[in-house]
């Protein structure tokens, strides 16, 4: 098993280098760079003339090496990454790693909660639906699942905010705290305020995953329940709950486990559009801003991290499958 993991990690190295090169290239391809954003800011906010703003932008390009050829910029950045230095964010005027870490805690908390909701909220009704096929409750869950799958989560966020603000008169729904609680130290009142905000992103983002898991679980379990070894188990006189939970579920849950591994990047990426709509201090909006303003080291590093988690997630999923299903062996 260890040699298998070693081989997988080795294969990942050239893949990651290739991904980092392509992502860096894609970010640099369009004309302009972050200093063009700076120039616009100088003109629009600072009220500088185009000429003055352009001069300052050129000076900054020289300072940060943005006037150097692409390949040179890439290798300078890559050599930094190897040493653990992801470069400098022009927008935040801070090292990239500091910015990503700063936002990672909230992102992980929200994403893990969403995963938890989607697994528990998806798998249990999925099992129920499969074991009560075509019943009224099965139809009800199916209807909910299709609704959850078909509504884009950013739209759900908008609709929810509209209802909370304009119908129910809630004063503050964006972000994770009301303004009067942001700076306070943790207390019961702050926790209550946090929960009042926190459920919205978890519900909005988690609902699609819940619906998906519900459908997958139902479909898989129905397939498995029709197989011969389940008939054998029943014929042996095993209790129905044991048949389902011990024999059927183990096989039926595999695609969900596989999907959890593949969605590991989501943990650090967050739901970008929803996070922007809900004004969450997570990594998603930061990544979006970095892409739009061509803050290339921040955007490049973030893409690189997503690639790393995707590769790692796949490996983890494979290992978990081997653990769940004794038939799978990687030696």
């Amino acid at each position: 098993m260890l040699s298998y993991i070693g081989r997988r990690v080795l294969y990942a190295v050239p893949l990651l280098i290739l991904i980092s090169f392509v992502s860096f290239l894609v970010i640099s391809l369009p004309p302009g760079d972050f200093m063009t954003t700076l120039q616009n800011e100088l003109m629009n906010q600072g009220g500088l003339s185009r000429e003055e703003a352009q001069k300052i932008a050129d000076r900054m390009r020289e300072k940060y090496g943005l006037d150097k050829p692409f390949v040179l910029q890439y290798f300078t950045w890559l050599s930094g990454v190897v040493r653990g230095d992801f470069g400098y964010s022009f927008q935040y005027k801070k090292p990239v790693s500091e910015i990503i870490w700063r936002r990672l805690a909230w992102t992980l908390l929200i994403a893990l909660s969403c995963h938890l909701l989607s697994v528990i909220g998806g798998v249990l009704p999925g099992i129920y639906s499969a074991t009560h096929q075509y019943s009224l409750s099965d139809n009800f869950f199916t209807f909910l699942a299709f609704l959850g799958l078909s509504i884009p989560n950013f739209f759900l966020a908008l609709a929810l905010m509209y209802i909370l603000v304009f119908w129910l008169g809630v004063e503050h729904v964006g972000g994770l705290f009301s303004p009067e609680f942001v700076m306070r130290s943790w207390s019961w009142a702050k926790l209550v305020d946090f929960l009042k905000h926190f459920w919205i992103p978890v519900f909005v983002v988690g609902i699609a995953g819940t619906a998906r898991n519900m459908r997958v679980m139902r479909g898989n379990l129905l397939d498995i329940l029709g197989q011969q070894y389940i008939q054998v188990a029943r014929a042996k006189g095993l209790r129905e709950d044991l048949v389902i939970l011990k024999h059927a579920l183990r096989n039926a849950i595999q695609p969900i486990v596989m999907y959890l591994g593949m969605s590991l990047p989501f943990l650090i990426q967050g739901a970008i559009v929803t996070s922007i709509v809900l004004n969450l201090p997570t990594t998603g909006p930061m990544f979006y801003k970095a892409i739009v303003s061509q803050d290339m080291y921040l955007a490049g590093s973030f893409l690189f991290l997503i690639a790393v988690t995707l590769v790692a997630g796949n490996l983890l999923a494979d290992l978990m499958l081997a653990w769940i299903d004794p038939r799978i062996r990687y030696e």
């Binding site: 302009g32 972050f34 009220g47 004004n279």
Partner: protein, 684 residues
């Protein structure tokens, strides 16, 4: 009978007009109200001063000196006349939103504090241009410089500074702060300040600053009476830096220091910052919130001797996107927003009109314009026969007229937002500009027939029957369809809508318009290098052409943006462009506002007559503001000479006691001792 009827009619008319007079709220306007700057602000000492209770407590505890020792000899006084609701009450919280990360507090080195008003709130300047909109003959107002006089030859300007003004850490502000800001920030090429040597060069000489004494400075220019220089002494351009804090980090004064270290000397989270403004940032949680509390050393008072500001605290929520500011106002968790995009008007108005709404929307005059810019450069980024043919065509006034006649401006303005908030624009300056004169504007209104006729005269004809005109025989791209690409930054919703409205109008006269919405950075980069055909821009600065001549004419190789010189400097300015440039240049040294006005009106005439750019529509911006806020004139501009928090001094705003939000951070009001705990603070 008729006599009786007319009496009844008269009585009814009287009753109705009285009713309306009673119903209509009294307008509290200040636009063009004052004859001189001293009607708005002046300098005066009072026998007694008042201060906010929390500050008084700190004085009683011995943490702050008494108010008489904190204020200058003669504080700056905002007149009662400019306070539409009168002098105010202390207390309350102002809740606002910002959406740009705070870089640090060294603004003189080019760092932003997050825009959205934060920069304006904490920075102070020698003169102020913000409240100029209140003056009948607008001219920069004194601020930290109380008065000035020109030498006889007009090449020197002596300025007198306020005496006894203190920074928020209690250290005195002197001429050394001005010298440090100018010489060691603006003129130092290694510092990314908001202005540079270029802007301070007159008659090929970089302006020199002489310090006469702690309260007197003298500027020496290479040209006589360069009056535009006052606009370089206002917000951001020469926002004063605390020499006693930053000198220590500057490589000129410290061998071990680096410019990188200097720029980042005061990191965003290391608070409080040393400021001259009415509020001091005291706490910042990145991505979430910033807190500002009153500056106990603030050097401005009202006419009753009350130290300003009135509000106790400002809470800035940090958002992912600027539109959150408007959302927060609508939801009730914010107190202010600027409504700049016509697409947002309807939602904001609907909410504001509800009887229990906590905010109102005030509309400024027409200060913004959406205009079509055609690339007039015959050399920059001309890479093909098509480029050559198109640029030649754009430079032909007949074609520009044809385009102008093809545009249904009223239709586009109504589609953007029907009603009194948008109207047609024929180019030059928006009609709210102090330099706008309707009689000088030459209009080429919507007349598709005339447009088609002009295009035919230019030799265009639909030879292949596809309803798109084809290039004439003598063109290098003869027979090809007349296709024009219009590029736009994806963040400009209103410009995108205007471009989409232009498409069918152009097609109607036989021009195929391809609208491409691209990343804003890409659009800027392409426009800067002259690599575009048409673009639509939103203009905020053409309202004050005297301050921003680069957005009107060829003041340098890279201006105007739609006719830049090629890399080798080649550029063929058309005669009218040369005339505009010369007029604009001459205004820089015109001391008489009347003379300046005359010159800029001539520019407006030349500009519109020659369709330098093609105006599409102009719009009013709205200011969404909490109803509980007092001293906000009804005609407050969101931006005229400066953006809102500088244009109308925020230190004069207040709120009645019953509407005040509860404060939370009064224990963070800084004292000199607070600063000594900071790593970066040198005078421990």
């Amino acid at each position: 009978m008729y006599k009786r009827l007319s009496v009844v009619f008269l009585v009814l008319a009287l009753v109705f007009s009285l009713a309306f007079a009673g119903l209509a709220e009294e307008e509290k306007n200040l636009g063009a109200s004052f004859d001189s700057a001293s009607d708005i602000l002046f300098y005066k000492s009072f026998p007694n001063y008042n201060e906010a209770p929390e500050v008084k407590k700190l004085v009683e505890e011995g943490k702050l000196p008494p108010i008489e020792d904190r204020l200058p000899k003669e504080p700056l006084v905002w007149s009662k006349a400019m306070m539409v609701d009168g002098t105010g009450l202390y207390g309350g919280v102002w809740r606002d939103t910002f959406a740009v990360p705070t870089e640090g507090w060294n603004w003189a080195a080019g760092q932003t504090q997050g825009w959205f008003g934060i920069n304006q709130i904490i920075q102070e300047t020698l003169v102020t241009t913000g409240p100029m909109w209140m003056m009948k003959k607008p001219d920069p107002l004194p601020h930290l410089a109380t008065s000035w006089e020109w030498s006889e030859d007009g090449k020197s300007l002596t300025m007198h500074l306020m005496e006894g003004v203190k920074w928020s850490d209690g250290v005195e502000f002197t001429a050394e702060d001005v010298r440090f800001t100018y010489e060691d920030n603006v003129l130092d090429d290694a510092v990314n300040s908001w202005q540079s040597k270029g802007s301070w060069t007159y008659g090929e000489k970089v302006t020199e600053l002489e310090v006469i004494d702690d309260y007197t400075i003298r500027w020496h220019f290479g040209e006589a009476f360069p009056v535009r220089v006052f606009y370089l002494m206002d917000y951001l351009d020469l926002s004063l830096s605390a020499a006693h804090v930053y000198k220590h980090f500057h490589p000129k004064y410290n061998e071990e220091a680096s410019y990188e270290g200097f720029n980042n000397a005061t990191p965003p989270e290391d608070l409080p910052a040393v400021v001259l403004g009415p509020y001091v940032p005291v706490a910042y949680k990145p991505d979430q919130q910033m807190i500002l509390v009153r500056n106990p050393y603030y050097w401005q008072v009202d006419e009753d001797g009350n130290q300003l500001p009135y509000f106790d605290e400002i809470w800035f929520a940090e958002a992912e996107d600027g539109t959150v500011r408007t959302m927060n106002l609508l939801a009730g968790s914010g107190d202010r927003t600027n409504l700049e995009n016509p697409q947002m008007y309807s939602m904001a108005l609907k909410e504001a009109q509800k009887p229990d709404s906590h905010f109102k929307v005030q509309w400024e005059d027409f200060y913004i314009e959406y205009r079509l810019e055609m690339n007039l450069s015959a050399y920059a980024s001309v890479n093909s026969d098509r480029d050559k043919a198109l640029r030649g065509l754009f430079r032909d006034l007949k074609f520009r007229k044809a385009v102008s006649h093809a545009i249904d401006r009223e239709g586009i303005a109504n589609a953007a937002f029907p009603g009194p908030f948008t109207k047609a624009s024929y180019g030059g300056y928006p009609s709210g500009s102090p330099y706008y004169n309707e009689s000088m504007v030459v209009k080429y209104p919507y007349d598709p027939e005339k447009s088609r006729q002009l295009l035919t005269e230019l030799g265009f004809e639909d030879t292949d029957g596809d309803e798109i005109l084809n290039w004439p025989e003598d063109s290098p791209i003869a027979g090809k369809n007349l296709v024009i690409e219009l590029i736009l930054g994806g963040d400009q919703d209103a410009a995108v809508k205007a471009a989409e409205a232009l498409q069918p109008l152009m097609r109607d006269v036989g021009i195929s318009l391809r609208v491409r919405t691209i990343k804003p950075t890409v659009q800027s980069a392409r426009v800067d290098s002259g690599d575009f055909e048409w673009t639509i821009t939103r203009q905020d600065s053409t309202i004050t052409p005297f301050m921003y001549p680069e957005d009107i004419g060829a003041m340098s190789d890279t201006s105007p943006a739609w006719h830049i010189a090629a890399t080798e400097g080649q550029r063929d300015l058309m005669p009218f462009e040369e005339e505009i440039r010369d007029l604009l240049k001459s205004t820089a040294t015109m001391t008489s506002p009347a003379e300046r006005r005359e010159a800029l009106e001539k520019v407006l005439h030349l500009y519109t007559e020659n369709l330098y750019t093609v105006g599409i529509y102009q719009a009013r911006r709205g200011l969404g503001i909490a109803k509980r806020f007092k001293n906000i004139p009804d005609d407050t501009p969101t931006r005229l000479y400066q953006w809102f928090p500088t244009g109308t001094p925020i230190q004069t705003f207040w709120t009645p006691a019953e509407d005040q939000k509860k404060t939370q951070f009064q224990d963070l009001i800084p004292t000199p001792e607070t600063y000594k705990k900071q790593d970066w603070y040198p005078n421990k």
